[in-house]
């Protein structure tokens, strides 16, 4: 029906004015908390870095299985079952057992109350799976067990990544999990992510271990290279201290040697162990090892009981600061690999905004001009609806603080082009109806009602495309799907409420005149 009740008109005006007010908060800075909203600019518009990190869980799995070997062996030893020939292979623990005890061992692993193999009621699955493999029994993580392990290492890594980035002090970083073994880092405004990349590229696993060139060590030893210089040492596998015992670390200038060092403070347990090691090991070399490389291996001169010390290693001030930062924020549970990196400089972002706005204005003017030429007075109505549509679109994006990207701007321009479609469908239909129908009001009314299905179809198909894009798309493409999708709703609003209202007002004012569409 071509009739708007007063209430309906008020509702339309209130909704429109509200959204336009919200939209205007992008231009003016309001103090009101509710109006203090802005469209977020995507990294491609404001500049910044996007890093996708993948956690390499292989070492974690191997470490866990290594520990498991000891647990399994001890557990069965107590039950007088002897397991032999342990080996680790392809992320599995393999061992042999007496034929008579085999069933017993299998039962222990498959029991829901098992003490060494936790059962997850929720997933109806054990943590570990046991199998027979040519004379060996093999134990590996079940699917759920692996998921749990990955999720927990992701959680830890997320925390460490957050600490490291916070320490560097970048502007509003965005750190999110992706899947169960990835972390997404967005750093707005950062045009050179090199430092962050270096910091995130290090596991920062710090250990203090004695150098044991004479192979008397009962724990075994391994050959490790020095971090910067050539050369290597045999180092004991026994860990005196690890990064976990560190309370604090700071870069400092050593006043005596004029060298940059990293000083550290240990917790109580650490201090005790450090004191003991330094008293028994006077004259020996204590290697300070970070991620499998020796930073330095000073000779112990004196007992250090205070629980603080310093690391030398030919640092520059920058590298000492970074090392201290890494030590303070703690070690990552597993190495991180950067598998995707996108950085946009701030001036390219600004150029993109400028180009987008120029394209929007020109596209807009062209469409408006074309529509006026084509439809005259009804073109004006369409254009008013189009302008309001654009303001509503910006309003909704602002209301939800959506992220605007360059493809998002393209989506807005495209909406301008496609939004007139609904009005065109209606006006063309009215034209046809006017040919056969003398009563203009009836012609307008049936024009609106008969074009409805086509308009709905048209918008639903576009909406489907936008929804799919939203779910598959990343970053910039998501921005496109959001503007395209929101644009459909604001378009329908502006066509059926704004343009229709204006049309009704126009024809009721010009009841006696000839109306040409």
């Amino acid at each position: 029906m071509l009739y708007f009740s007063k209430l309906k008109i008020i509702c339309i005006l209130v909704v429109s004015l509200f959204l336009i007010l919200i939209a205007s908060s992008n231009l003016f800075k309001f103090d009101n908390i509710f109006l203090k909203r802005n469209i977020n600019l995507g990294l491609d518009l404001q500049g910044g870095s996007y890093l996708l990190l993948e956690i390499d869980n292989k070492p974690v799995i191997e470490q866990k299985l290594q520990n498991l070997t000891i647990t399994i062996r001890n557990y069965f030893k107590e039950k007088n079952i002897k397991l032999v020939n342990f080996k680790l292979q392809n992320e599995k623990v393999l061992f042999k057992v007496n034929e008579n005890d085999k069933q017993n061992v299998l039962d222990v692993f498959n029991d829901e109350e098992s003490e060494i193999n936790p059962y997850y009621q929720r997933f109806k699955s054990h943590q570990l799976e046991i199998d027979e493999e040519n004379n060996f029994l093999s134990v590996k993580f079940s699917k759920q067990g692996l998921v749990k392990l990955k999720t927990s290492s992701q959680e830890q890594a997320l925390e460490i990544v957050r600490r490291r980035i916070d320490e560097v002090g970048t502007n509003e970083p965005n750190i999110l999990r992706r899947g169960n073994d990835r972390i997404l880092v967005e750093l707005p405004g950062l045009d050179d992510p090199m430092r962050i990349k270096t910091l995130l590229g290090k596991t920062a696993n710090l250990t203090f271990r004695f150098v044991s060139n004479n192979k008397e060590d009962s724990f075994g030893n391994e050959k490790l290279d020095y971090e910067d210089e050539e050369g290597s040492e045999f180092v004991s596998k026994r860990i005196i201290l690890s990064g976990d015992n560190l309370l604090d670390a700071q870069p400092r200038m050593d006043s005596e040697t004029n060298e940059t060092v990293v000083t550290f403070n240990l917790d109580r347990v650490g201090a005790k162990r450090f004191g003991k090691a330094t008293s028994t090991g006077i004259g020996r070399q204590l290697a300070i090892i970070l991620d499998g490389k020796i930073i330095s291996a000073p000779v112990i001169q004196d007992t250090i009981a205070s629980g603080s010390g310093q690391i030398t290693g030919g640092f520059t001030f920058q590298s000492a600061t970074d090392l201290a930062l890494l030590l303070r924020s703690g070690a990552l549970p597993a190495p991180l690999n950067i598998i995707e990196e996108r950085t946009v400089g701030p001036d390219l972002g600004q150029d993109s905004i400028d180009a987008g706005i120029i394209a929007l204005i020109i596209g807009f003017v062209l469409v408006i001009f074309f529509i006026i030429v084509k439809y005259r007075i009804f073109g004006v109505i369409t254009n008013v609806a189009l302008i309001i549509n654009l303001l509503l679109l910006v309003g909704v994006l602002t209301l939800f603080e959506a992220t605007l990207t360059l493809p998002g701007i393209a989506g807005i321009i495209l909406t301008v082009g496609m939004a007139v479609d609904a009005n065109v469908l209606i006006f063309e239909r009215i034209r046809e109806e006017l040919k056969n129908e003398k009563n203009r009001l009836i012609a307008f009314d049936s024009g609106y009602s008969k074009s409805k299905t086509a308009i709905l179809d048209a918008n639903i198909t576009t909406l489907l495309a936008a929804i799919i894009l939203f779910f598959m798309g990343s970053g910039p493409i998501k921005g496109f799907s959001i503007t395209l999708g929101v644009g459909i709703f604001t378009t329908l609003f502006s066509v059926y409420f704004i343009a229709k209202l204006l049309t009704v007002l126009y024809i009721s004012k010009n009841k006696n005149k000839e109306i040409v569409i």
Partner: protein, 296 residues
Amino acid sequence: MIAFNKYYNQFNILSLSLVVISLLFLIFKGLNFGIDFKGGILIELRSTDSKVNVSSLRDKFNQMDLGDVSVKKFGNETDYLIKFENKDNKKNIIEDVKKSLDKSFGNNIDFRRVENVGPKVSAELLKSGIIAISVALALMLIYIWIRFEWQFSLGAICALFHDVIVTLGLFSLLGLEINLSIIAAVLTIVGYSMNDTVVIFDRVRENLRKYADIKIFELTNISINETLSRTLITSITTLLALVSIFIFGGEILKGFSLAMIFGVIFGTYSSIYIANTILVRLNVSQKTILKDEKKN
């Protein structure tokens, strides 16, 4: 009234050959995948230094021994786009390249955009792109199946496939780059082409109810003509917006807007000359829609 139906056969042959040619191009020449889908490194840089030009940059990169490096101008006189694969998966390759360029050109280079997509990510992006387009096509099929009879769905889907294949074929022929935004464009084309087809189909169905004695061959022509001015106006306004993006929207949106421009043209054409001709060939009549309506 324009006699669109006079050329149904000719245009069907044309479309069929375009699809075949496009498929041949897609199979034998393939698509020029960007780093989003192929993996690798992209650097966009700007320099007003006269020493920096395509050949000096290319020399410099060849010295760095990075394998195949593509260097070209990017829009502006002072802007360059460099792409290469990171074959050995070197860790700090971007930093090394930046340092080496800064050293030879004296810090006169502004790195405007740097992207590094690992092989795992690019494979996933390609997979999800293909899935997205397939899901979109399937959803459109289901949607139109619910709304219309199967003859109509077949017509609409043929039109959709035609548009997507020919647009991609044209990208293959011209060697234009396929990146994430092209996938977005293709999906939008799918939506647009569908939209255009549905508007005409809506009219065809309405006319089928109205006129029992007009043959589908005539009837489609009447429907096309009745909706023609809407088809043209919407295509024109959409194209106006797209051309504006293409010319003024900056280098990054060029591929996207070009794909959309092709798509809108093909989409408009296919809803007239493919979707409708399928109805004619399947001999759709009033019975087709009435039979279905009785069932409900």
